[in-house]
Symmetry: C2
Subunit: 516 residues, 2 copies
Amino acid sequence: MRPAPALRPSHVARLLGPRRVGIFHRCVSRCATRSVAELLQWRPAEKADDVTVNGFVRSVRSMKAHRFISLGDGSSLAPLQALVPADDAKDLAVGAAVRLSGSWVSSPGAAQSHELHVSRVEVLGPSDAKTFPIQKKYHTPEYLRTMPHLRARTPVNAVLLRLRSDVIASLTQFFAGRSFTQTHPPIITSSDCEGAGEVFTVTPANDAPAPGSSSENNSQELFFRSKKYLTVSTQLHLEALAQAVGNVWTLSPVFRAEKSDTSRHLSEFYMLEAEMSFVDDLGPVMDLAEDMLRSVSSSLIESSTVRDLLFRSRTSGSDLAPADEVRRRWEGLMQRDWPRIKYSDAVTLLQQKSSLFEHKPTWGAGLQSEHEKYLAEYVGGGEKPVFVTNYPRDIKAFYMRETLPASPDVPGPTVDCFDLLVPEFCEIAGGSMREHRLDPLLDAMKRQGILKPPSEGVSDGPSSGGLDWYVDLRRWGSPPHGGFGVGFDRLLSYLAGVQTVRDMVTFPRWHGRCDC
Amino acid sequence: MRPAPALRPSHVARLLGPRRVGIFHRCVSRCATRSVAELLQWRPAEKADDVTVNGFVRSVRSMKAHRFISLGDGSSLAPLQALVPADDAKDLAVGAAVRLSGSWVSSPGAAQSHELHVSRVEVLGPSDAKTFPIQKKYHTPEYLRTMPHLRARTPVNAVLLRLRSDVIASLTQFFAGRSFTQTHPPIITSSDCEGAGEVFTVTPANDAPAPGSSSENNSQELFFRSKKYLTVSTQLHLEALAQAVGNVWTLSPVFRAEKSDTSRHLSEFYMLEAEMSFVDDLGPVMDLAEDMLRSVSSSLIESSTVRDLLFRSRTSGSDLAPADEVRRRWEGLMQRDWPRIKYSDAVTLLQQKSSLFEHKPTWGAGLQSEHEKYLAEYVGGGEKPVFVTNYPRDIKAFYMRETLPASPDVPGPTVDCFDLLVPEFCEIAGGSMREHRLDPLLDAMKRQGILKPPSEGVSDGPSSGGLDWYVDLRRWGSPPHGGFGVGFDRLLSYLAGVQTVRDMVTFPRWHGRCDC
């Protein structure tokens, strides 16, 4: 572009005429459009005219001269009841997107205090009610899972979407209030060996390997020069960021290529991870996890979303855990001073009750689900979450800091880590101090077979599983630090009472399933 | 697990002894640890004792009996100055992570109003200053880009991390205040044909195709049964969610396998996308984009992060655009009533100035960068962002709604869309009304070769590029809706004055580069 002479805005108008610039007027909506939730809360003593509401027809019930329309817009579990003259209602099919205008009138005796007497109907998006897959009746979760693009339009799924949004906003406020920096660690990473399960690789769609060529050997053709993976956890990168700005957190998608077919596993899910710098021991890290969950539950307990979950009728959301059970979960998270018990003591406790269990509790082995359930139930009194700390080193990840000094009455080395257990649901968070010193970290990586002895350099070679950069962080100014991770969709499932995480995520991905 | 007898918490204590439960005391930090930013703002009249600060040594200057330590912790661009007795300072190497305690004392005449007179030094993470790659001197962006895991520890990069966090928090508050639902659309998707560029595919690392087999043909072995991709934009899924809860937004990573080697392209970046339901035209969508950017800039202009960016000295952050230029950008975003001009009128305007341009402005062709710059500069008066609307249909994506009625003085069909241009930087956001009616959408997909005529069914077949579910959304209750997307890292680059998006992202990924 050649240099332009100075030209003032008035010149533009002169060139095009004033009509031509700014012809879009700002559309400040002055109409009285309200959400269904707002209307249901609004109980004016007098009839209110000129009320407009947008939404989707959930059901139509025929009376003599009228139709009763049940209208939902995702803002509340309960629908709005609208009374439409039969002549105006002929296009009001189930599933249709409509705009209804009229008067908001008290309706004594009805389930709702007020109802909309409709004087104007606009069908903005028609629906063929006969073929609409979501009717006002019970649909099994399995059936709904076959149509994730429509499933979110059921009333309960809209509540779940709002819960996710409310929890994110609450977390953002919590961490901002503590000067934690929210970060975006990378999704595509160089490491395949963090020990968090199977990984996915990433290749350009147009670079499918030619027949007969091995994808391992043609690295010169690889988009990123060497093989890259979808992240399984952002923790290692978070540690680098914690060295820059102190305390950090993220809510980031992570990926596992596991073929497990359970109610708790997805191939793609969000992880909430936080990392604290300059902390000497696990205490402040557990405090943070505890404070965070208490803050989220306390800040949202009065919200309309959570009210929809905790005080729903028996029929609405019938695939969820019972409302009183979900209420107990929220109450537990709002309690103070959650118990903290060492793994070794937990095993002792379990062994004293070993007749209750199918699997014998053994020091050095992971806790079985039945063991965790027992601990959550009885150490936490069936209400408070429970921290179990200091697991044996050899069943935990390489980056966890060894507990020093070792306790003489414990059979082997342990690490400064915790699992957070909640009643019924078991592990909901896990965290640890990270090994911040160079030589102990290298020793741990050798012990776990991640670092092959000859290669301790800074190159991004395969002999360290792509983790030389992580080791590097320990070479210059690595203070003691620690953090934790929460499977975010699992947490939401727990908070909502959703029985399988596949129904908590709108478009769930697991082995064999990735619709839309 | 067999049913357990009722057991109260007191029983647990009895089993283990009270010592064993709750042995971790809550570590409420009572020490006077403050961040560097807090200390630099703190100007007590009297000397303050018992002050502790954690941070990293940026530089060491030797005096006779003392060392002057420049300390940073990522909380501010400016360092804290600490005076340490020479005998205590021998391990205070550049890059070391340290905890310094002492008195906060006014230092008249010095650059800072106060300095820390240190009485206690703890080196929490030592550093070999000789090998530390980041010294207190100018490093080129190219040099720093070779070590992304350490780069964030430079003062300017810490400011950039804080800016990202502040902007996310501000956006979250903005959207929550308008009852927008924050969502997590999927990252792994079924569609490869949204027209937003080349895509990556996803396969389990252990499922590398056997030599001689074509990856296209062994779909029975694929992890998700059919080929899957990393999302290039969440918009299509957002539209499904907007049908559930009305107005939605997301801040989500997206991926492009493009080999472009420019200062504006990454293979992995965050997109901010918003979708509004029940809006009749583009006006409210543009209002939302404008209000959002004005809200973010207004809410952050007084923050310490933005002060660091706007009032930095000439030497700090010397790779950024000049501070006064960055100030103009913020001021522009805070202005009201951004001009809106139709593409056709913009082309007329450009043609009247065609001698300025290398490329002739032609109706029906995309605007060249030189054209956008001219429009941003002269329609916006060099300060306000400018909406250019109603581009020709045939150069835009299939999902955009055609402008009706067509204007008689326009050469061809246009769509209800906008690009938002800012001075110097050009496009910073783009949006449109979406075609919400079934038949016009199918026509557009046929016209663009996405939908092959015989397959209009609901199956997730390859003949629709995996978009049958998207078409499906139009079958039942699809109200008029529209939205926009903002390249989040580009927006941050604009706000920070970062010249290339590779330096805005801590771990940037582009063709040939994916470190750590």
